[in-house]
């Protein structure tokens, strides 16, 4: 067994854990960062969706929720976590969401501090708006449709530097342009003296007399024990509650594993006159937020032919015919800010979650409306045909939950923050209620759906926690 002493043990190197490890190490703390997945060498990225799904995603991207409908929930695996495979979209937490957190969950979130944390994250990740040239033909189609309809829209802000629009953000960026935490914060943490252990599956969090004492992990080479007066769990929204539950932590409120919110999503295709070449350019570069207030957001999505062929909602000769026109296909994603709530439970040991989630009537309504509006947008843009992700002959208004082929992104809320210990797992400072020194810093603490991509919200909250632990203000 290898043994380490540290000021802080961080579990997970995704959006929350990597940021925290770097900020703490640079602030002078001794840090051990335990990550279950490996470091992925960008030289091994080959832009092949099936091979990269197998390599960069947990369970080859086939984590499934049980319910109506079953939903595919892709999760990244490795240094960087899901930031390794996401589209790089960066939205700050909407102000109305922060107000709700203060009012409904009693969270003391000082706007000025949060603003500094966001600035710090955005600077570290080189966040900037995608240019129209880099956005490519797929975004141009959506933009034309939105402009003709007068719908609010814009180019997305992303964490990328030197991007050339390889078109495979979700399958490993071959230029390392996407500034995921595995190539930004993790190297910073290491340079500042943090010890990074990959392939480490944490089994045990030791707590005695209401105080955390450290963590124990299993690696390929044996056991690793970290003795630390502070432990931060950042294993992600799906796996953090499993780890806490397995250690009998955080169950008092009855909220652990519950309140799972996600952004269920689908996408439509359109056949255009022009050559679109959807995979040339930034796949997620453009958004339409005209209906964000109703919980409906459109964001660009695109990929190579094998990816498009998998998701094109046609069969037989119609599928083959549309694929022959791949260069003329445009695609747009529909993401719903959900009111449905799910639950994560532990089955068969730590690593296997059982995720239950049923789409409620309000969310079904959002999909019906959203699909109708996507068709309207594509038709305004000049589409010859629009292919909606529904069974043949089914109009959006008639769609049932089981008719929808959904994926979901951005799981949140399974160890939610609430000032009241009877209503949440962690407090305003992300410390587990009743356990000194044990914190959570990932999507699981986010108490409600954001309606926008959450990565920099998680990073800003982790930055805020780092400076709280360092007992100094976050620098501007």
């Amino acid at each position: 067994m290898s043994e380490h002493e540290a000021d802080v043990c961080v579990i997970g190197a995704g959006a929350g854990g990597a940021v925290l490890a770097a900020e703490l190490a640079e602030g002078g703390a001794s840090v051990v960062l335990l990550e279950q997945g490996p470091w992925h060498d960008p030289d091994s990225f080959d832009a092949s969706p099936p091979r990269m799904l197998a390599k960069l995603y947990r369970d080859a991207g086939q984590t499934l929720t049980l319910g109506t409908p079953p939903i595919v929930l892709p999760l990244g695996s490795g240094l960087g976590g899901t930031t390794l495979v996401n589209s790089g979209t960066c939205f700050r937490t909407p102000e109305h969401v922060l107000e709700r957190w203060r009012a409904e969950f009693g969270l003391e979130l000082d706007s000025e501090t949060l603003d500094r944390c966001f600035q710090r994250v955005e600077e570290a990740l080189s966040v900037s708006e995608v240019t129209p040239e880099l956005a490519g033909g797929n975004a141009a189609v959506a933009r034309r449709g939105a402009e003709r309809l007068g719908w609010s829209h814009g180019y997305l802000r992303r964490n990328a530097r030197g991007c050339v629009g390889s078109g495979v953000c979700a399958f490993g960026c071959p230029t390392s342009a996407k500034q995921h935490t595995g190539i930004t914060y993790v190297p910073r943490a290491e340079a500042a003296g943090a010890r990074i252990v990959t392939g480490a599956t944490v089994r045990e969090i030791e707590v005695r007399a209401g105080r955390v004492l450290g963590a124990r992990a299993r690696t390929h080479g044996g056991e690793v024990e970290v003795r630390a007066p502070r432990v931060v769990v950042a294993a992600g929204t799906i796996h953090t509650p499993l780890l806490l539950e397995a250690n009998g932590i955080g169950r008092e409120s009855g909220q652990l594993g519950g309140n799972l919110s996600m952004h269920p999503a689908t996408a439509a295709f359109a056949l255009m006159d022009e050559v679109v070449d959807m995979a040339k350019g930034v796949p997620q570069s453009f958004y339409v937020d005209e209906w964000a207030g109703e919980g409906i957001m459109f964001e660009g999505i695109a990929g190579p032919p094998s990816y498009a062929a998998m998701s094109l909602p046609l069969e037989g000769e119609r599928h083959a015919e549309a694929m022959r026109s791949y260069r003329h296909l445009a695609q747009l994603g529909l993401m719903v800010s959900d009111s449905s709530r799910g639950r994560v439970r532990r089955i068969g040991g730590l690593s296997r979650p059982l995720i239950t989630y049923d789409l409620d009537e309000r969310d079904l309504g959002r999909f019906r409306t959203g699909l109708r509006r996507i068709r309207e947008l594509f038709e305004s843009a000049g589409a010859h045909e629009v292919y909606l992700p529904l069974p043949p002959g089914t109009e959006p208004e008639q769609a049932r939950a089981k008719d929808l082929g959904l994926m979901a992104f951005h799981p949140l809320g399974t160890a939610r923050a609430d000032a009241d210990p009877s209503r949440g797992v962690v407090d305003s400072n992300l410390q587990v209620h009743g356990i000194e020194g044990l914190h959570v810093a990932d999507g699981s603490v986010v108490p409600s759906s954001l309606g926008v991509n959450p990565q920099i919200t998680i990073m800003a909250l982790a930055t805020r926690l780092a400076y709280h632990l360092l007992e100094r203000p976050c620098p501007s």
Binding site: F45, Y57, P305, Y326
Partner: protein, 81 residues
Amino acid sequence: MDEYIAAAPQPQRSGMYAVLALARRPRGAALLSRVRPLAQVGRTLLAMERYEEPVVARSLGWDAEAVIARGRALRRAEGRP
């Protein structure tokens, strides 16, 4: 495809092997068509397999090798991680 399916969790892994084997044969595909979700899985796997072929992808304007070569060259030239 093998890598993709092998990395899937059970029971999806066994299910996908079985569905793919059926979907590749006309009689198997006819059998699958009676169960819509399974037929959908079969179509998805076959489509992914077909359009992964470099010759097919290149005919549709997508050259993965060129994308990767450009990415690696840029990464090296600029000293990126």
